[in-house]
C-alpha cells in the first residue's frame, strides 16, 4: 500500500499538469487545481499513517522516511493553501490585467509540474534523482518567476535560473564526489542511494566526502537562499506571481535544505559531526547577519519578505549547526513553522499589494480600515515572523537557542539574539505603518475576496496551533525525523 502511494504521489501533480493543458476555462482550471491539491493532501496523510505504523518504505529510487515526511506534509499543505488562494487571486489578477487570461492553462500546468518536481525531490532516495528533481524545480519555477513577462520579471527569472543553475552544478559535483567515495567502498549499484550510503557512511574516505559536502553546501545552499549565495532570492520572490512566491519561500528553499540535511548525515558519519556543524553554523550566521540591514532598509514589501526568508533559512542552518537532539528538532520545526507563516505573509501581502496597486510599503497605509480581515492576517504573520509568542516561530526559535546553549556556542547565540531583536523592531515598524493610519487615496475599497481569506485562515490556524501546543502525533513525527538526522 505505502509502496503504491510512493509512485502515485509524484504522478498526481504530473497528471494534473497535463490535464491543465486541455482546457482554458478559468473556473475549471481552478477547480482541478484545488481538487488535485486536496487529493495530494489526502494521499500524504494516508502515507504518513502507513509510515507511522510500518517505518520507512522504499520503491526503486524513491523512499519515504520520517524526515522526508515532515517536508512532504509541509509541501502538500502549502500546495492546498496556494490552490485555494489562487482562486480569488487569479480572478482579481485577470480583471486588472496582471495575468493574461489566454495563458492561464500554462500557468497552472507549470505550477503543478513545479509541485511534482518538489515531491520527487522530497521523496528521492537516490542522490542523483534528488539532483535531477532540484534542477527540475529550477527550470519550472524560473518560467513561473518570469510569468508576468515584463522586464523586471524576466530579469529576476534570468538571475534566478543562472545563479541557481551555477549553484546546483556545484551540488552535482558534490554528489559525484560522494558517489565516488561510496562506490570505492561498496561498489556499483547502491552507491547513489542515500539509505545504502548511510549504512557504510563511517567507512567512506573522509577527505573526499569533506570536499563533496562543501560543494553540496554551496550548491544546495544557493537554492536554499543561504547568504552569500542568496542573490537570486529577493528578486525572484518579489517578481514572481504571489502564489509562486509563497511556494518558493515556503517549500522550495526547504526542499533544498532537505538536500543539505541528507548530505549532512552522510558527512557527519564519515568525517565527524563537528565538521558539518561548523560549516552549517558559519553559513547560518552569515545569512542572518547579511539579511538584517536589507530588512531594515527595505521599501518593497515582497522583497522584505524575501530577505526575511534568507534570515530564517539562516536560523534553520544555525539550528542544524548547533546540532544535538534539541537543536535539530528546533531546526526541523522551524522549517515547517517558517514555511506556513511565510506563505501566510505572502498571501496577506499579495492581497494588500493588489489593493493598493504598489509593492512600495510607503504607499500601503491604513490597511486595517479598508480590509480589516486581511490586515489582521498581515499583522498576525508579521508578529509571528518577528518571533512573538504565542505563535509557532517563537517556539522553534527558542528550541534552536536552547540547542545552542546546550552546546555552549555563546558567540553564535549572541549574534543570533542581537539580529533577531533588530529584525523584530524593523518588521513591526514596517507592519504597523502599513496596517494603521489613514488609508491612502490609492487604496481600493472593494470588499475582500473570500477564498484568499480561507487560505489564510487555514495557515493561521496551523500557525497558532503549533505555537500553543504541538499535537502528540506531530511531535512523534518530529522526534523520529530528528532521530534520522542525529542518529
Amino acid at each position: 500500500m505505502a509502496e503504491t502511494l510512493l509512485w502515485i504521489l509524484p504522478l498526481v501533480p504530473t497528471a494534473t499538469a497535463l490535464a491543465m493543458l486541455t482546457t482554458r476555462d478559468r473556473r475549471i482550471l481552478s477547480a482541478i487545481d484545488v481538487g488535485s491539491s486536496a487529493v495530494l493532501v489526502a494521499l500524504t496523510l494516508a502515507l504518513a499513517r502507513e509510515v507511522e505504523a510500518g517505518g520507512p518504505r522504499s520503491l526503486g529510487v524513491l523512499r519515504v522516511d520520517d524526515l522526508g515526511l515532515v517536508f512532504l506534509l509541509l509541501l502538500v499543505v502549502l500546495t492546498l493553501a496556494v490552490s485555494i488562494y489562487t482562486v480569488g487571486w487569479l480572478r482579481q489578477a485577470v480583471a486588472v490585467g496582471n495575468m493574461n487570461a489566454g495563458t492561464l492553462h500554462f500557468y497552472f500546468a507549470l505550477v503543478h509540474a513545479f509541485v511534482a518536481t518538489m515531491v520527487v525531490a522530497v521523496l528521492a532516495d537516490n542522490l542523483g534523482v534528488l539532483w535531477i528533481a532540484m534542477e527540475g524545480t529550477t527550470i519550472t519555477s524560473a518560467v513561473l518567476v518570469g510569468f508576468h513577462g515584463h522586464r523586471y520579471g524576466l530579469e529576476a527569472a534570468w538571475k534566478y535560473i543562472i545563479v541557481t543553475t551555477i549553484g546546483i552544478s556545484f551540488g552535482l559535483f558534490g554528489t559525484v564526489l560522494v558517489y565516488a567515495a561510496a562506490a570505492a567502498v561498496q561498489g556499483g549499484a547502491g552507491a547513489m542511494s542515500w539509505s545504502a550510503i548511510m549504512q557504510v557512511a563511517p567507512a567512506l574516505d573522509p577527505s573526499i566526502v569533506r570536499i563533496g559536502f562543501i560543494f553540496v553546501m554551496i550548491g544546495y545552499g544557493t537554492k536554499a537562499g543561504l547568504a552569500p549565495m542568496h542573490l537570486w532570492l529577493p528578486d525572484a520572490h518579489s517578481q514572481a506571481p504571489t502564489p509562486v512566491s509563497a511556494l518558493l519561500s515556503g517549500v522550495l528553499i526547504k526542499c533544498a535544505l532537505l538536500g543539505i540535511i541528507r548530505f549532512q548525515t552522510i558527512a557527519a558519519a564519515a568525517c565527524g559531526a563537528a565538521f558539518t556543524e561548523e560549516v552549517l553554523l558559519v553559513f547560518g550566521l552569515i545569512s542572518i547577519v547579511v539579511a538584517t540591514p536589507f530588512i531594515l532598509a527595505q521599501r518593497d514589501l515582497k522583497r522584505l519578505l524575501g530577505y526575511h526568508s534568507v534570515e530564517h533559512v539562516g536560523i534553520v542552518a544555525l539550528g542544524l549547526g548547533f546540532g544535538g537532539t534539541v537543536g535539530t528538532y528546533g531546526a526541523l520545526l522551524h522549517v515547517v513553522n517558517h514555511g506556513i507563516t511565510k506563505a501566510l505573509a505572502f498571501f496577506a501581502a499579495g492581497t494588500a499589494i493588489a489593493r493598493y496597486g504598489s509593492r512600495d510599503m510607503r504607499a500601503i497605509r491604513g490597511l486595517l480600515a479598508v480590509a480589516p480581515i486581511g490586515a489582521t492576517f498581515l499583522m498576525l504573520a508579521a508578529l509571528s515572523l518577528a518571533g512573538m509568542p504565542p505563535f509557532s516561530i517563537f517556539v522553534s526559535e527558542i528550541l534552536v537557542l536552547r540547542g545552542g546553549i546546550g552546546h555552549a556556542h555563546w558567540v553564535a547565540i549572541g549574534i543570533f539574539l542581537a539580529m533577531v531583536v533588530v529584525i523584530f523592531a524593523g518588521l513591526l515598524h514596517h507592519a504597523g505603518a502599513m496596517a494603521f493610519g489613514r488609508p491612502s487615496a490609492a487604496a481600493g475599497r472593494e470588499s475582500e475576496a473570500w477564498t484568499p481569506l480561507l487560505a489564510m485562515l487555514l495557515l493561521a490556524a496551523i500557525m497558532v496551533l503549533l505555537g500553543i501546543s504541538i499535537p502528540a502525533s506531530v511531535d512523534g513525527l518530529f522526534r523520529r525525523a530528528t532521530e534520522v538526522v542525529v542518529g
Binding site: 522586464r151 543562472i162 559535483f173 565516488a180
Partner: protein
C-alpha cells in the same frame, strides 16, 4: 587497453579540456566561444568512449553518444541559432579585462591541482587527473559566467561548467548509473531551452541583453 594507457589518455584529454576552457575565457566573439565549448564536449565524448573501451561498461558508450549528440552538436547548434536570431557579432567588453580573467584562471587551475594532490587516496577512486581538471573546469565556467555580461556567454560558461562535472563523473571508477546521467543531460537541455527562450523574449520586448538588465537591487 591497459590501465596505464587509459590513465595517460584521460590525462591528455584533461589537458586539452583545459586548453578549450582557456579559449572560451579568452574568446572575444561569442561564436568562437560556442565552437570552443562544442570542441570541449567532443573531447568529453571521446573520454567517455575511451573509458567505455577500457572498462567494458556499456552505459558509458551510451553516455558518450548522448554527450556527443546533445552537448557537442545540438546545444551549440541552438546557441548559434540564437546568435543568428539576435544578430550579434559585436564584441562585448567583459566586466574585468580578459587578461585579468586569464590570470585568475591560472590561479584556479593551480589551486585545483593543489587541492587534489593534498587529498591523496582519492586518486584511486577517480581516474588520472579527472578530479582536478573537473574542479578547474567547473570553477572556470563559473568564472566565465561571473565576468561576462551577455546571456550567451553565461550559457557557454554554464555548459563548460557542467562539462567539468561530466568529465569527473565519467572517470569515477564505476561510472555513474546510466539513468542518472540521462536525467542530468535532459535537465541541461531543458534549462538551455528555457534560457534561450528568455533571451529571445527580452530581446524582442525591451531590445536589451537579458544579462545586462540591472534594475533589481537592494
Amino acid at each position: 587497453m591497459n590501465a596505464e594507457s587509459v590513465y595517460t589518455i584521460v590525462d591528455d584529454l584533461g589537458a586539452l579540456l583545459l586548453f578549450t576552457m582557456i579559449l572560451i575565457i579568452a574568446a572575444g566573439q561569442i561564436y568562437r566561444a560556442i565552437y570552443a565549448v562544442a570542441a570541449q564536449s567532443l573531447l568529453i565524448a571521446i573520454a567517455g568512449g575511451v573509458l567505455a573501451m577500457a572498462t567494458g561498461n556499456v552505459d558509458l558508450w551510451v553516455i558518450a553518444g548522448v554527450t556527443l549528440g546533445v552537448k557537442a552538436i545540438a546545444l551549440p547548434w541552438v546557441l548559434l541559432w540564437v546568435v543568428r536570431r539576435m544578430n550579434v557579432r559585436r564584441e562585448v567588453e567583459p566586466v574585468i579585462p580578459v587578461a585579468a580573467t586569464l590570470a585568475l584562471a591560472v590561479m584556479v587551475v593551480v589551486m585545483s591541482f593543489h587541492l587534489s594532490t593534498s587529498l591523496g587516496p582519492v586518486r584511486q577512486a577517480i581516474t588520472g587527473n579527472a578530479l582536478p581538471v573537473g574542479i578547474a573546469l567547473t570553477l572556470l565556467g563559473v568564472l566565465v559566467m561571473a565576468t561576462r555580461k551577455t546571456a550567451l556567454h553565461q550559457m557557454v560558461g554554464l555548459f563548460a561548467s557542467e562539462n567539468g562535472i561530466f568529465f569527473t563523473a565519467m572517470a569515477v571508477t564505476q561510472g555513474m548509473p546510466l539513468i542518472i546521467e540521462i536525467g542530468v543531460i535532459l535537465d541541461v537541455i531543458l534549462a538551455a531551452l528555457v534560457m534561450a527562450i528568455m533571451v529571445l523574449r527580452v530581446r524582442s520586448t525591451v531590445d536589451a541583453d537579458i544579462a545586462s538588465l540591472d534594475r533589481l537591487r537592494g
